[in-house]
Symmetry: C2
Subunit: 393 residues, 2 copies
């Protein structure tokens, strides 16, 4: 990149069934919190990006970029405003587009938000929306749902590596233990292994409590060139890498079901760009839309060898005092998965961890963090490596 | 911008009711044509952008970025692929994101496509999709349709400036005269003024033949840094400016209905960036989703003083031999308005004009061209200024 980009501040709404808040209120609330933390005024904003997966279907509103500027009261600035979509990786992809916009030299201060409003629709519509991030023509049309597709990946991982249902369930238990300390989480309570195992099946081997629940919510960050960021805030966080990769939309076209090639490609590029190794990452927010997704991801990100991801949570390797703290914010499972918001909520959590402001969830001495998002079953993967920049005000 | 960006090549599908072609086939066909014209191989592509307004609602498929890479047979490259949306300006906004990606130094060769598949749905769904680019909560919910909103702008323009229905109809007649020479146009035939005036009313004063019809189609361009472009093709076209602006989604929040402030903001920035004046533009593709939209746009772009846009088409000022040739490709009216494809189809037409390859539609000695797209009623406007670069192979 032609110039270094930093995060000035971040904000989120609570996540959950927020019936008293509209789509446009959610994105505005998150954006205002991020702007306030960034010590900027609205007039300094040069462009806005909004990640949202399916506002057209869920609330009947496309054009969410301009809508966000309008609702923020900034229509008079005539900012460029862009909605970005890549399934449930939409927020992370929007973040990357914001990073490119700052790197290009065209914009200085850029606000990136992510939002989804999912609880005001009939339940089967949510199911159809989720699978529209996979291949509609070759998967959805034939009745596959997103959990059914991940169930196939789980089955294959169990077959090849001896991964067990208890290991899957342990991911959910761990993420709820983390999320219980997050007052913005949709499900801030602990779970026992038995409770997860005994929950109703969705698509075997995945049960209800293996699945992140759709919810409402929004998150946002403010970006600027690193030099400007150092003038504006005490503790800017540098975007050391912002990488994205795609893969086939449909599972049947892939060489393997026990790994997601887009994650590996994005991670390889990100580590090279940031000049770090997987072992340098102390804290990671990872896409656990289903428990198997976290297991695949921590392998594909290189935190654990292929086949050993299943034992990570049961052994305590992915929580405080382990090898790397994975999903300290509760993950998609306990924080809730408001599709387009997720990538930014992950970034906000990593920023708080690197700044040492994560309170009861704080990972000690975190210097390098990672955020990882998937769209669908990995048609898109995004990896951001974030690092304390130092040298703030 | 930190480095200059050029267009290597462009491609489009035919536009129309293309029942034998799927969404994914359309974007692939346009992309292949653009890639072929650009003298590149698939492996050289660094990223892909797809503009599509409402694939989630129209065909049940989100995640169109990764889908396009997949369908092109390039999934193994794990390219970053991004779908961009800003109402019916989606294609133009995708083009701008591609430009920023190249300018950022992160990607060299970037393919930008736009696509929409609109004729396989029930008619009232199309109407609802169109108004989802305006304000769903404050306009669509109360029964406003997109033509009804433009009709209000037309009424006000008639009231303030004496614009007539005959002047509106003359825009349609002129664009059909142009489009009759475009073998990819959905409606490649001429119209008489009486035919337009006598067509059934949609929302007075706009009649059926004042309205661009939804259709299927796709278009694409290939971008690269100017220096690389000069090595690859004979006649690269430089993106002299790529500017975008937003405004309120809803009409009621605007100070005036007789102009679109986002167009003016984007145009002012684009002229400054490209160091040209409106008078330097010889050929322009302009957003004529409704005849009044072209009249507003040619005023807001500075081609004609406010209030004089209505007389431009009747006086022959916006056709060959006039002041500036507006919509030589037939515009949205005669080429057809495949929402997400439109911004790229406009760019493809301007590229052909600047290269002198526009055949029967050629504007003599065109050196500087402009493409202008609107989302909804101007919640987003995008202006690209393109110029012959010279110095190719």
């Amino acid at each position: 990149m032609t110039r270094e980009v930093a995060i000035l501040g971040a904000g989120t709404t609570p996540f959950g069934e927020l019936w008293e808040r509209s789509f446009r209120e959610l994105i505005t609330l998150a954006g205002l919190e991020a702007v306030k933390e960034s010590n900027i005024e609205g007039q300094e904003i040069g462009a806005m990006y909004v990640g949202s997966m399916s506002a057209g279907r869920l609330i009947g509103q496309e054009h969410a970029g301009a809508m966000a500027v309008d609702e923020a009261g900034l229509a008079g600035l005539h900012l460029p405003a862009v909605r970005v979509e890549a399934g449930d990786a939409s927020g992370a992809v929007a973040l990357r587009q914001g990073v490119l916009a700052v790197a290009s030299g065209v914009h200085d201060v850029v606000v990136v938000g992510g939002v989804e409003k999912m609880t005001d629709v009939l339940e089967d519509e949510t199911t159809r929306v989720l699978v529209s991030a996979a291949d509609r023509e070759w998967e959805g049309f034939f009745g596959a749902t997103l959990p059914a597709l991940y169930a196939m990946m789980a089955r294959r991982h169990m077959h090849e590596y001896g991964t067990t249902r208890e290991q899957l369930a342990a991911v959910s238990v761990k993420n709820h233990a983390h999320g219980a300390k997050n007052d913005r989480a949709a499900y801030p309570f602990t779970l026992t292994l038995d409770k997860v195992l005994d929950s109703p099946p969705v698509a075997e081997p995945l049960h209800v409590l293996d699945c992140a629940a759709p919810c409402d919510g929004a998150a946002a960050v403010v970006l600027a060139p690193l030099e400007l960021a150092r003038e504006l805030v005490d503790d800017p966080v540098v975007v050391a890498a912002s990488e994205q990769a795609s893969d086939t939309l449909a599972l049947h076209a892939r060489a393997s079901l026990t790994g997601i090639a887009s994650t590996r490609a994005a991670a390889d590029r990100a580590y090279a760009r940031a000049r770090v190794r997987p072992a340098d990452i102390q804290v990671a927010e990872v896409h656990d839309s289903y428990t198997i997704a976290e297991i695949l991801s921590i392998e594909d990100l290189g935190f654990f060898p292929k086949g050993e991801g299943g034992s990570a949570a049961p052994k305590g390797l992915t929580t405080y005092g382990g090898r790397v703290v994975v999903n300290p914010g509760g993950g998609l499972k306990a924080r809730g998965h408001a599709l387009g918001a997720t990538g930014l909520a992950q970034a906000a959590e990593v920023v708080a961890q690197l700044r040492g402001t994560a309170g009861a969830r704080q990972v000690a001495d975190a210097e390098v963090g990672l955020a990882h998002a998937l769209g669908g079953t990995g048609g898109t993967a995004v990896v951001h490596v974030l690092r304390r920049a130092g040298g703030g005000r």
